[in-house]
Symmetry: C2
Subunit: 184 residues, 2 copies
C-alpha cells in the first residue's frame, strides 16, 4: 500500500520517467522499499488514473520516447495526507531466524556458512551507506531541512546494518566458538 507513496516522494523530489524511477529505486530509496520496473510501470498507471501524476511525453533522438511523470496538485495533497496517517509497523521476516530454530534438524556447517555470507552482505551494505554518508552529508549537523530526511534514512540503514553484523557475530561466536574474529 505504500509503493505509490514512495514513488510520489521520489517524483515530488524530481519528475522522472518509469525507467528513471526504476534506476533511482535501485540506487537510493530502493534500499528501503524495493520495486521492479514492471511494478513501477503498473503503479504509475494506477496513479495516473487516480490523477496523482500526469505524463509528459518527451521525444528523444537516438533513443525511445519517454513519459516523464509530474506530480499533480492532487498528488501532493495525497502525499501530505499520507504523512498524516499513522504508519503500520511492517512485520519482520527473518529467514535466518527460522533457520536458527532449525539448527537441531539441519546442517550446522551449512547454516554457519549462511551466517558468514549474511555478515559479508551486511558489511558491504554498511560500507556503501558509510560512503554515501561521507559523500552526501559530510557535516551531518549542518544538513538543510530538505536533506534531513535523507540523512535520517541513511542513519537508519547504517544502524540496521551494524546490528545485522553484531547479530551474525553473536551467532558465529556460538556456532564456532574456537574461531577468532579473523576466521569469521
Amino acid at each position: 500500500m505504500a509503493l505509490e507513496h514512495a514513488i510520489l516522494v521520489s517524483l515530488a523530489e524530481r519528475s522522472a520517467s518509469g525507467y528513471d524511477l526504476a534506476r533511482r529505486f535501485d540506487a537510493s530509496i530502493g534500499h528501503f522499499w524495493k520495486a521492479s520496473h514492471q511494478q513501477i510501470y503498473k503503479v504509475l498507471g494506477r496513479m495516473e488514473t487516480a490523477g496523482w501524476v500526469t505524463p509528459d511525453v518527451v521525444a528523444q533522438d537516438g533513443r525511445p520516447d519517454k513519459k516523464v511523470y509530474v506530480v499533480t496538485a492532487a498528488g501532493r495533497d495525497e502525499l501530505a495526507a499520507w504523512t498524516s496517517r499513522p504508519s503500520t509497523v511492517e512485520p519482520t521476516r527473518s529467514e535466518l531466524a527460522v533457520k536458527l530454530r532449525a539448527l537441531p534438524f539441519g546442517d550446522t556447517a551449512a547454516i554457519t556458512d549462511d551466517v558468514r555470507a549474511r555478515r559479508r552482505a551486511h558489511e558491504q551494505q554498511l560500507a556503501y551507506y558509510l560512503e554515501s554518508a561521507a559523500r552526501f552529508y559530510p557535516r551531518p549537523d549542518d544538513v538543510t531541512a530538505d536533506e534531513l530526511g535523507g540523512w535520517l534514512v541513511l542513519r537508519g540503514g547504517i544502524l540496521a546494518e551494524q546490528t545485522g553484523i553484531a547479530w551474525c557475530d553473536e551467532i558465529l561466536q556460538r556456532l564456532v566458538p574456537e574461531a577468532d574474529d579473523a576466521d569469521r
Copy 2:
C-alpha cells in the same frame, strides 16, 4: 517460499494442529515470520500433498475434532535440505524511511507522532523479548544445543528492537531538538 519451512520447524519441535500452529505463530516464531491461520491451513494442505506432513485426526469431547499434523521422514529430509540451501536476504521495507523522505512535503508534527508511536511499539516488543529471555534462558551461557537456536533468535529480536529505539531517538532529536528525553 519459507512459511512451509517455518511450519516444518515448528512441527518438528512438536506436532500440532493448524489452530495450535496459528497460536504458536502468534506467540513465538511469529515474531520473525508472521502468518494468519488461513495461510497456515492453506500451506498445511500443500505440505500434506507434498508428503512432508501427515494429519492425525484426534476426536475430542466437548470440542471439534482436530487434525494433528506430524512431520514425515520426507518432511525432515526437506527441512535438512532447506537448511543447506543459502538463504536470500529479505528486502528491507521501511514505511518510516519513505515518510522521512516525505518530510518536506508533509506534516512534520504528524510524522513526529508517528515516530513516537513506533518508539513505544519497539519498547513494548523489547520488554516482551527481555522478559522471555529472563524466563526461558536465565543462564544464556548454559543453553543446551536444542535451546541455542531459540536463544539466538531472541537475541536478534532484542538487538533489532534496541536499534529501532535508537533510530527513533536520533530522529526525534532532529525533529524536536528542544525536547528532553522525558518529553519524547
